[in-house]
Structures are given as structure tokens and as C-alpha cells.
Amino acid sequence: MTLPPIVMATIMSAGVLGALVGILAYVTLLERKFAARLQSRIGPYRVGPHGLLQPIADGVKLMLKENLIPASADRPIFNLAPVVFLVPCLLIFATIPFAPGIGVADLNTGVLFFLAVSSLEIVGLFMAGWGSNNKYALLSAMRAVNQIISYDLPFIMAALVPVMLAGSLRMSDIAAAQSGLWFIAYPVLGQLSFFAFIIAGVAAENRVPFDILEAESELVAGFRVEYSGMKFALIQLAEYAHVLGTSFLGALLFLGAWSGPGPIWLGPVWFLLKALAVFIVLTWIRWSFVRIRVDQILRVSWKLMLPATLLLLLATAAVIVWRTPGA
């Protein structure tokens, strides 16, 4: 019995969404535990064995919290912003194939779709900052626009290197192209582009050292300063979804996606482990550096990252031409 495609897609997306929210909850715990060990602390420990129920307790707490809307806020925009922020962050998972044939939609422009949608989060961010009618939030939203536009370009350039090596924008093709050699092991080009991908990824996700829009020592909590309760939870969820999405993309583009020893059904597990490894790298960076200033961030992007990734792209093209016989 074969189900019509629309039903299949619905079942698949519900499954991905459900699994995603569960993974996201535990990714927060992973980050908290990892940061705690880095800082010679224990981290969450009280709720459940080794704090394993902490994400659930956090979720329940946030749901029960009072939902405050500032009197002078622009109510429709304020209320809509968390959703507008969350949707693109979840949508990026649509094109990721978790194993051969398992995924919501394996578009032939998968990478492009991912990159395009992930930059859409800026709309929700700016709505949150503007709608709050708070000076900290407004400053943060202005910084957000600056930063995300500047870093999406090098991020895209870095992500395009594996795309060129694989010769396809379809994610499953890129994964299949790495069955022999992961792209991170590709001499010079692979390591450099992975490095650029990580740096630009950290910046595009607004994490320390590029978390100037959150910058709680300057702007208290930035664009989310007025949010509480479930809306705050949605914003947090969106941020973690974005980070996890980027980790999956990194694992897919550079670390060979689901390839690994063992039977084929272990593929998704390998993929998740690789994504978590990328996530740990991002977390490690976050918890080891101090943040830099907004003008410095922009300078690094336009004067260093963008030319460097462009050169990388050109070099990749040259290598491909050189290695293609008869070209």
C-alpha cells in the first residue's frame, strides 16, 4: 500500500518536528552540562538522575509563567514575533535528509533553500526588537540586522565549497559524494572552508563571541528583554533550532552525513552524533571567548571573512577544473 505523497509528507514532517523538539530540549541540557564542566561546575543535577529531567522542568516552568506584554508595546508585532522567528528556524530541517530517503523533502536546491530560509530569522528578530518598544531591544535589533546580513554572505560562501566539490545542491547528492572521502579531509580546501563555516556559523547564530544582539552586559537581554513565559521559550527554542540546524548542515556538508561503520540503519545515529560534535565545537567557542564589539564584528566580516571565502570559492573552482580530465 502506498500513501499519497501529501500524506507521506505530513507524517514525515510531524515525525521530524516531534523528534526535533525532543532533541532540542536535550541539546540545551547538553550545552549546560558541557559549559558546567568547562567552568569546573556540576551543572543541572537535581531534577532527575544527573539532571536528566531538567529540560522538562524548564519547559513546564516557562509554560506556567505569566505572559507579560509591556503597555507601550506594539501588540500584534510583539505577539507575532516569536512565531515569525521560530518558523524559519524549524523550516530549515525540511530539506535535511537524515538517512537515504528519510527526510521531509529532498529538494534539488536543498542547500540553497536551507541558506535562504535560515536568513529569514532576521525578520522575526527585528519584529521582536521593534515591537517591544524598549531601547535595549531596539539597539539589539539594529545590531541584529547589521550582523546577520554581514555574516550570511561568508556563511553561504563557505557552504558552497562542498556544494561545488559535490557538484550538486541536493543534500543527498552531497552526502553520497562523501562516501569515499569526507569533504573536511579534502586537502586544504576542506579544512579552510570548514573553519570559515564554523566562524561564520557562530556569527550567524549570534553566539558568543558574536552575540552582540543579546549582549546582556550591555543590552540586558537584547531583543528578548521584554519577553516572558512561553514566548520567551519559543525564542529560545528557535535559537537552539537554528544552532542545531547549522550543526546538521555542517555535519552533512563536511563530515559525510550518515556514513559510518555498522549497518545502514545506524545512519541517522551517526548523523546525529556528527551534528552534536559540531554543536559541541560551537558551544566550546561560545564558552571560551569574550564578545567583540559591533564595529569590529562588521570589520571582520567585510574585510576578512568575505574576501577570504570568495578566494576559497575561486580556488575550489580552479581545483575542480584542474582535476577534471579533458576540461
Binding site: V208, E216, S217, E218, L219, V220, F289, V290
Partner: protein
Amino acid sequence: MPDLRAIDYTGSERLTMNMGPQHPSAHGVFRAILTLEGETVVGVDAVIGYLHRCHEKLAETLAYVQYPTIASKTDYVAAMSSELAYVMAAERIAQIEVPRRAQYLRVLVGELQRIASHCLWLGTWCMDMGGALGGGATIFLYCIRERELVLDLFEALVGARLLYGFHQVGGVRYDVPAGWSEECRDTVTRIEARLIEYEAMLDDNPFFTMRTRGVGVIPTALALEVGVSGPLLRGSGVNFDLRRAQPYSSYEEFEFRVPVETAGDCHARYLVRMVEFRESIRIVRQVLDGLPEGPISSRPGVKSLAQVKVPKGEAYARVEGPRGEVGCYLVADGSNKPYRMKWRGASFSNLAILPHILPGCSVADVVAIMGSVDPVFGEVDR
């Protein structure tokens, strides 16, 4: 005096933003009303006084045996230095001799206090720049871990961890318990090793350098004009340390280096304080090596409020606290209480530099500069 409104931008609309008194990097209860043009600070209105507790009036109502415990509440991060300034002023009027052992013990706790205070400074400063959810918090927790070691030493010595009441007119109140010296040596050795870790995290860190180099530059002339002291002054190229310039409590018997940096920026202040960490450890070791035998006070232990009477007269005593010159001006009328008392808080004088150096820098620099000034609001507001 440079004109505070020298920077006159034209163009976009200005935004007035409150930073504090309730703000993650207010360092207590500082309120800076910033006038912003985009991200650039064009004006700053510093408001203090949220932590005013009438310390100077209170001193008139408390006997000389009582006030040292209250003096520690002015600068609660470096309680030992303000206690010392108060008892030194009283001793100066009454011309009371302090036994050599007591003088050494005063130096010992003063330097341990400097280590503890600088630990807190480094931690909070990095947290200001790096965020409570980022690398700054990591350094903060490391620093707090080391500060706890020093506070453990104080707890073993005095019984209190933060506000001590260790000093009394004529000497100190507590002698070192058995085994304490070895513990102290272990602790400073441990902290010395950890300092290398901090520097490994910060010195070659491009992000840290970007945030601190050339930020908040205090030219030498301005530093002298405004009257900043301590690491701020030495970071601006002035070789002035009261422990060297006007040695008190037998500081002249110890070998130590006074670090001076000429850049005057946040990074120079960082370098000065990092050297001070090590020099304090050096002094602590010298004290422990050469601790003379003898009484710890030239006066008997505290039994009654009328025990210490200071003859008519007035005196100013100043000590080099972790944040700079802590001064106490005391007017005595012959009774067991001072007639009038005035604090010169190092943080208060250092904070006066902010309106001169903040205009022109960005919002992010404000917190970096605030942290490098290292104010403690108990001492600013008194």
C-alpha cells in the same frame, strides 16, 4: 580640564538610555544616563548615591573600638584596606606604636586582600565583556574559585569571610593560628599557577585584545588632573604607589616591583593588575618568611567601649588599596569617639574619570571601561 562636551555630533536623532542602577554590569548600583547617537556615546550623566549609608556620620557615633568592623563595609571587596586606613589615622593622632609583628600581619592581610580583590576584578570585568552566557562567565567562575581560597584563609584567621574587623587601634586582633602559614603558602602557590592559566586564556586571545587595546585611554595629564589612583594611575604612566612613595606598616622592608604601563588603555590596566597579583604573592611570601615574634598589639584586647581614647588632634592616613588610595581623615576631640571623619574612597575618585573618557566610545566599550576602572559602590557611596 578638557571640555566634556567637546564631541558634538550632528546628524541622527539622539537616544537617551539608562544604564543602571539595575543593570547586569552596573557593578552594584551605578547609574549612567547615556546619550547615544546610534551606538556612539555622546554624553554621559553619572548618578551615584544609591548605596549611601551615612558612613561618615556613623563614624561619629561609634567608638574607636567599634568602627573598624564598620569601616570594612565601605569597600566590601577589599575590607582590610579601609580598616587599616581608619586605625592608622587614629594611631597617628594618638601616636600609638604598632608592634612589628602586627605591622607584618597588616601587610600580609593587605596583600592577600589585594589578590582576592583583583580576582573579583578580573572575573567581573571579563563577564562584562564576555557575557554571563559565554566565555566571560568561564573566567569569572575560575577567578571566584581562586578568591574563595583566599577567603578560606581569612575565615581561618578571623572567622569571617568578607567583613573582618581584623585591625584594631594599636595592632591587630587575631594572630595566625597553627598551620595557617603553610596553608597560606600553598594557596598563593596555587593561585600563582592559576594566573598562568588566565594569561593563557587572555593574553593572546584576539577577541580580548580587540576589546581592550586602545579602549578607554586615560592620558597621563588627565589622570593626574582628575586624581585617579591605583592601577588606573599606574596604567597611565605615573609611577606612584603609596607602598613605595610613603611606606606605611613597614612596607619599606619588602621587595616588590611597582608595575607601570604607559598606554593608559584598558589593556594597560589589565597588565598592571596582573603584575600586582604576582608582586602581592611575592610580598606574602616575604612576610611569612620574616614574620617577627612578639605581641600583635600594643594595647590590650577589646573589653569596653571607652578603652581607646584618642587625644585632641587630627590626622590623615592613606593606604594603597587594591583600587588605589584609600584615605581616612579623622578629627579627634579627646573622647572615645571621633569628632568627625571623612573617607577618601579610591573608587569614588576613580569613577570621576568616566565622563572624560566615555564620550566617543561605543556602548560596548562603556562596560569594558567600567570594568577596567573596577569601582565598588560601597566605597563610592559610603
